[in-house]
Every structure is written in C-alpha cells, then in structure tokens.
Amino acid sequence: MIRRSTLIWLTLAALLGFGLYQIKYEVQSQEERFTRINKQIVENQEAIQVLTAEWSFLNRPDRLAEMARRYLEMSPVVPAQFAQIANLPDREAMAAAAVLAASAPAAKPIPARAAMAANSATVPAAKTQLAPQPRPLVSAAPVSGPERMQATQPKPPASPPAANPSRPIEAARYLPPPKAEPAHERASLVDAPSVLIASVLTVLSEASSAPAQMIQMMRTSEVR
C-alpha cells in the first residue's frame, strides 16, 4: 500500500513538473516574441532612418522653391510687407468719429460698441455701397445710415485676391507676414497630398543623383 505522504509528494512532483513545463514553454514563446519585436524595432529604426533621409531629400530648398513656383500662388515675403501695429489705423477711433458724424442730429453720442450691437439688428436693408468700398476700411466721408458701422466689423474679402504672385496679396498688409518664405514652408506642401505624391514621383524618376536612386530603391523594397 502506498503511503499517504508518498502520494502527496508524487502529486506535488507531477504538478511541479507540469508547471515547470508550462513555464518553460511560456518563456520560450516569450523569448521568440521578444526577438521578433526586437527585430521589428530595428527594422523600424532603419526605416525611420531611410525615411528621414528621404524627407530631407524631398525638402531640399531648391526643390521646394521650384515646387512653390509651380504650385503656389505665393512669392517670398519682401521687406515691404512688414508693418508695425503702431502704424495701423485706429479702427475704433475712426468708427467713433463716423458714429458721431452720423448721429449728430440726435445730439446724443452713442458709444461705438453699443451702436454696433443695436444697428446690426435694426437696420432694415443694408445699402450695397459697403461691398465695393476698398481700404481705408472706414471712409472719412460721413454716411447717412448707422449701417455704415458694419464696415468696422470683420468683413470677408469682397473678392479673392487676384492670382498674381508678383503682387503681395492684400491681407498681407494687415496680417503678420508668414515667418518664412513659401519656399521653406515645409508644411504647406502637405496640404495637397496628390500634388505631393505626383511631384515626388516625377522628381524621383527624373533625379539621377545617387541618394535619389538609393532612397527610391529602399522605399520600393520596403513596400514589397
């Protein structure tokens, strides 16, 4: 007859053996996963290395300048496009002056902001004379209706700026100019993915320099 303690020990040994077996296999599979993931990490790091090289190759300033010339209706910022905040006309003061002139018969000056809020609701039919008025935003001539006030509100450009790259667009006079010239606005090209891809392909196929070939080859092989 097998004694009880022997039975317990045997069971324990069997359980331990099974557990050990399980853990061993678990460890083995984890090791494999570990190696696999490590390999992937290295592959990804290599791919990143290649892609940064490609990114930088595609962002060569001479190429960007050429792309900007071809696809953007913008030209490099020139010093004349800079303006100082201090040199801007004081809109509120001018608006207040206009209101004063308009409401002179009422003999009671209306605060500019209050007038603006009230008028936008009560004006029956806005006169069409607003739209064609170019800068200066508020004409010096007193206009009869309080609706004149609307000109002081932010107004969408009456017509899109003429597509003339040599002429700075109107907004540039009042807005802070972009920091870099378009040729170096690397982000701006991303907005047109199809254009980008098409041009990337043409550039790559035309380019004969060593890095272009190398990078192109690497990319295609990775895709495959």
Partner: protein, 582 residues
C-alpha cells in the same frame, strides 16, 4: 555486558529479514562502526552542500520575485541594441538633416567556395551593370579567401544577386553615408569614404566625435540661408562670367557661421565626379590679397591706436612713389581727405599714409591681434596659412594698408570685421552650435568707441560711397567694397580681380555680416563695364539681406529715424591735418 556487546561477534548483515524493530537503535562496534560513521559523515556533507545550493537558489528566486529591480536588470541584459549607425547624423541649426548613414548590404565573395568563376562573373555582371565580367572573374580566381565585389548595394540589387544563388557570395551589412542636400554643404560637411572614414570638412575634423556618439551633431548653419546665399552668389557669378565665388553669413555677436558657400562646389555623394579643384574651400583654405576691404582693419588700427580720429585728414593729392612702386587712387579725389573720406572713397594713398602714421610695429601687432598671422581658428582642417612679409618693412605696411602684401582667407576677414563692429571683441568663427553658456568669451582687441566709429564709417560707404549698390531699404546696411588685383606672372594683373563686399546690418546694432567675393568677374553693360566690388559683390549682398531679413523676422526700420541718425552720424568739426612721417 549489555546486549549490544553480544552482537559484535557476529558479521554485520544489514538485509536480515528480522531487522531490529523500529525505535530500537542498533549499535555497531569496530570496523563496521567506523565504516558507518564515514558513510554518515559523507551523507551529511553532501546534504549540507545540497541544502546550501537550494538555499542559494531559493534566495535568488525570492529576490527575483520580490525585488523590483531584478527583473528589469534581467530584461536590460537581453535588450536589443537597436539600429546604431556607424556615424552620427549631422543636422543644421533647425534640425534639418545634412548627413546621415543608411544601412545597405555589400557583396563579397570567398573565391575558394566559388565553383565556376567564369559563370559566376557573367551572371553577376548581368544583374550589376556597373561591373565588368572580366574584372570579377579575375577577383574570383584569386587565391584570397575574401574579395569585395560591390559595396553598398541597394535592396533591389541585393535581391537580384541573392536570386542568382551563386555559392561563395555573401553579404556584409554596411552603412552608406548620404548627403540629402547634395552640393549645398559640400565644403562645410565634407564627406566620408566607403569605409566610414571622414575625408573632408567636418566629417574629417570631427571623425572621432561622429563615430563615438550617436547624438546628431548640431551645426550653426541654416539650410534656408545657405540656399539663398548659394543661389544669389551663383547668379552673380553667372552675370559677370566669373570663375568662382565665395560667401559667408555670420552672426557678428557670437561668431556663428550661418551660411558659407564656396563655388564651384561638388556633390559629396559622389566626390569623384567633380574636378578635384572644386573641393577647394575658398573660404577657409584659400588665402588672397583682399584689397580695399583691408582698409577696415587699417582704419580700426589707426583710430584705436589714437594716431588718427574721424577728424584727421591726410594729403591725397599726389600718388606715392616709393622705390619701384606707385600707389594711386582708383577713385582719385586729388585733395586732402579726412579719415571718413578715405574710407568712403577707398583711397589707397590716404590709407597708406594712415598706416605709416600709426607705425609699422603698431600695424604688425594689430594684424597679429586680429589673428591674421595664423590659420583661422575654425573646426575645419582646411584652414589656409596666411602669407605675410618677413621682414615687415614700411613699403609692406603701406601696401597692407589697402590690402596687398598680406594674404588671408575670406573667413579671416569676416572674423576680423565682426570683431571690429561688435564692440571690439574677437571671437573665433564656429560651425558647431553650443548653448550660450558654453560660448567662448572672446578677447577684446579694440575699444568700444573705436567700434562705434567704425560703424559710422561702414554706414557712410553704403549711404554715400562705393557701396551704394548694397543698400537694402529698411535694413540700415553698412559695408566696405574691395577690388583686389590678382597676382599673376610678374606682377599684378589689372584685368583679373577679386571683387568683394562685406555688408553688415543693421548698422546701429550690428547683428549679421554678409560677405561676398567674386573671382575674376568681367564687367557687363549693366555695370558700365565695371567689375569692382561695388558693382559685382554689393548687389549680391543686397539681395541676400533682402531675402534674409523676412526669413529671420527682422522688421525693416525707418532709416531716417532720429535714433538711427544719431547713432551713425559723423560729426563735422575742424579738420586736423596729419602728415605721415615716411
């Protein structure tokens, strides 16, 4: 006698069926007892050893299970190293990549394993068109056990070669150095060879740093500005059919080089494809007689040593004849000229007299202080040795006053000009970006007041003098023109000149220096046949500044504003005539 004594007489038989009942100890005597004792002792020792081993293992298990750091240490020991390129990447001041290493495969063969050299060579040549079958066959027939067949294959080529399945061919992973911007930074970054050894530029000078660290090397240059400078310089060279040119943009406050171009240049991806002379870095390795731009240092020396002030004047009516030389003025005024006028009209006669007035020794000491007598301290091995006269005689002092007889590199001049205008502190030009607290302090070579006087002279040249073509409206440009005749066979060649312009802006608070030199320009109709610095180099400087200002967000200012006028005005007063002692 106890009962055990009775047992001793009998032989010990352990497997007797009638074993002593449990609980009753059995004692042995004599040899048997000794044997048992030994057995028991051995057993005990073994048990102790095993117990110790199990305790250690158990302790270790508990440590691993309980302690937090142990599993991490284990994992770290197994962590993959990741992709480590053999050379660190090089980036510009904004982090744009200028040089990087890409992993590639290189093909080599063990000729002893190749079965049929002829067939293998023919097959390989069919997939790698750049290789000649005969050469491969010769390599494969050699007695060696290792021959390179082709370095840095693209993955596609590697695939093709693999598909051939030729025994004895193997791949070795190697990094290939890539310069995405091509020739833009050819002379600054330089290039490395196929084995990853730096051969030129920073790749050569910082070879150890690039190999030992993986962090990108941050430079002071700006890829956008470099492009602008190169483009404008290229246009200038084309317009005046020149043979070459150089340009430098420098921060005068720190000595950081923002852009540096030497044309013609080469593609560092294929350095062998361009003529070797294109690898010559004109900015640092080339030393030239600079011509009138040297009057910057002549005037600074005279003003700083106190022999002249902005009110001093010198007799420039007659050309100076000394031994077999005659010193004349290009823009001759034929009258007494004040120091500002000498600078404005770039008078050689006046400058020579200023130099003599200050003294030969003063001049020599000053040139040493500005660093013009030793190679320029830059992180490039390509730094040319200046050529200066030994002994330094009065005639040399006179010619050096207007930039002949002492040859320095363009970067020398940029470095010196920055010191003259930034308040008088000489700082070594640098290509490596450092945090502000690690900036070298620099050495004072001029009084602050001299530097302020020099700013006035610089502004005068662009406002009224020879450098009007450099005036970029709103940027308060100041500068100095230079037109040096190049030394040819048996003397100076009048037709081949080195035209230069050093522009600095804004002049009331100098920040950036833009220097352009054009080598052997030919006058055009638009320049009225002139090929001088004012006509050739000054417009290039103006264009660079006009494009650079918006790029760096420098707002143009009103050049006629009272503050700027006051900072740059040259007060008129009674002239003080000085006669240079010869």
């Amino acid at each position: 006698m106890n009962p055990t004594a009775a047992l001793t007489a009998r032989p010990v038989v352990l497997d007797r069926p009638e074993a002593p009942p449990p609980g009753r100890s059995v004692r042995f005597e004599g040899a048997a007892k000794q044997a048992l004792e030994i057995g028991r002792n051995r057993l005990l020792v073994t048990c102790a050893v095993f117990a110790l081993a199990f305790t250690v293992i158990g302790g270790r298990l508990i440590e691993i299970a309980v302690s937090r750091s142990a599993p991490q240490r284990l994992a770290e020991a197994r962590r993959a190293l990741g992709f480590v390129p053999d050379r660190a990447p090089i980036v510009d001041r904004n982090g744009t990549l200028l040089a990087t290493s890409l992993p590639t495969a290189s093909l080599y063969a063990d000729p002893r394993d190749v079965l049929d050299a002829g067939e293998a060579a023919a097959k390989l040549a069919s997939v790698l068109p750049g290789l000649a079958a005969e050469e491969i066959q010769a390599k494969l027939s050699s007695e060696k056990n290792f021959v390179w067949l082709k370095r840095n294959l693209t993955p596609r080529q590697q695939y093709e070669v693999n598909r051939l399945g030729i025994p004895g061919f193997y791949f070795q992973r190697e990094d290939k150095r890539i310069y995405p911007d091509g020739s833009l930074f050819a002379h600054i970054v330089g290039f490395a060879d196929v084995d990853g050894r730096g051969l030129a530029g920073l790749e050569r000078d910082l070879d150890e740093r690039l190999k030992s660290q993986t962090q990108p090397l941050l430079l002071t240059v700006d890829v956008r500005l470099q492009h602008i400078l190169r483009e404008e310089l290229q246009q200038g060279i084309q317009e005046f059919s020149a043979v070459g040119g150089m340009g430098i943009v420098m921060d005068v406050r720190t000595g950081e080089i923002l852009a540096m171009v030497s044309l013609p240049d080469f593609d560092p991806n294929r350095p062998g494809a361009s003529p070797p002379e294109n690898r010559f870095n004109r900015n640092t390795l080339g030393v030239y007689e600079m011509g009138s731009t040297f009057k910057i240092f002549n005037s600074a020396m005279a003003l700083d040593s106190g022999t002249a002030s902005l009110r001093s004047s010198y007799d420039a009516r007659q050309p100076i004849r000394i031994s077999r030389y005659t010193i004349t003025d290009y823009h001759a005024e034929r009258r007494w000229l004040t120091v500002p006028e000498i600078f404005k009209y770039s008078s050689n006669i006046g400058s020579a007299k200023m130099a003599l007035d200050a003294g030969v020794e003063t001049q020599r000491a000053f040139m040493g202080r500005v660093g013009f007598l030793k190679p320029v301290p830059i992180e490039l091995k390509e730094a040319g040795k200046p050529l200066y006269p030994r002994p330094w005689r009065p005639i040399n002092a006179m010619t050096i006053a207007f930039g002949h007889g002492l040859s320095v590199s363009p970067l020398h001049v940029a470095m010196g000009t920055a010191a003259v205008l930034n308040g008088g502190i000489l700082r070594a030009p640098t290509l490596i970006r450092r945090p502000p607290e690690e900036m070298p302090a620099g050495t004072r070579i001029l009084k602050q007041s001299t530097s302020e006087d020099m700013r006035r002279l610089f502004r005068l040249v662009v406002e009224e003098g020879t450098g009007k073509n450099a005036a970029a409206p709103g940027y308060v440009v100041g500068g100095k023109t230079g037109t040096a005749e190049k030394v040819g066979h048996g003397g100076y060649r009048h037709k081949s000149v080195l035209s230069s312009f050093i522009g600095v802006f804004p002049m009331h608070d100098p920040q950036y220096l833009v220097m352009v030199m054009v080598d052997e320009p030919k006058g055009t109709k638009r320049s009225h046949g002139y090929a001088t610095g004012g006509w050739v180099a000054a417009p290039v400087v103006r264009k660079v500044i006009t494009r650079m200002g918006p790029l760096y967000g420098i707002p143009p200012v009103d050049e006629t504003s009272p503050e700027i006028r006051r900072a740059l005005v040259i007060e008129s007063g009674p002239q003080e005539k000085r006669i240079a002692s010869q």
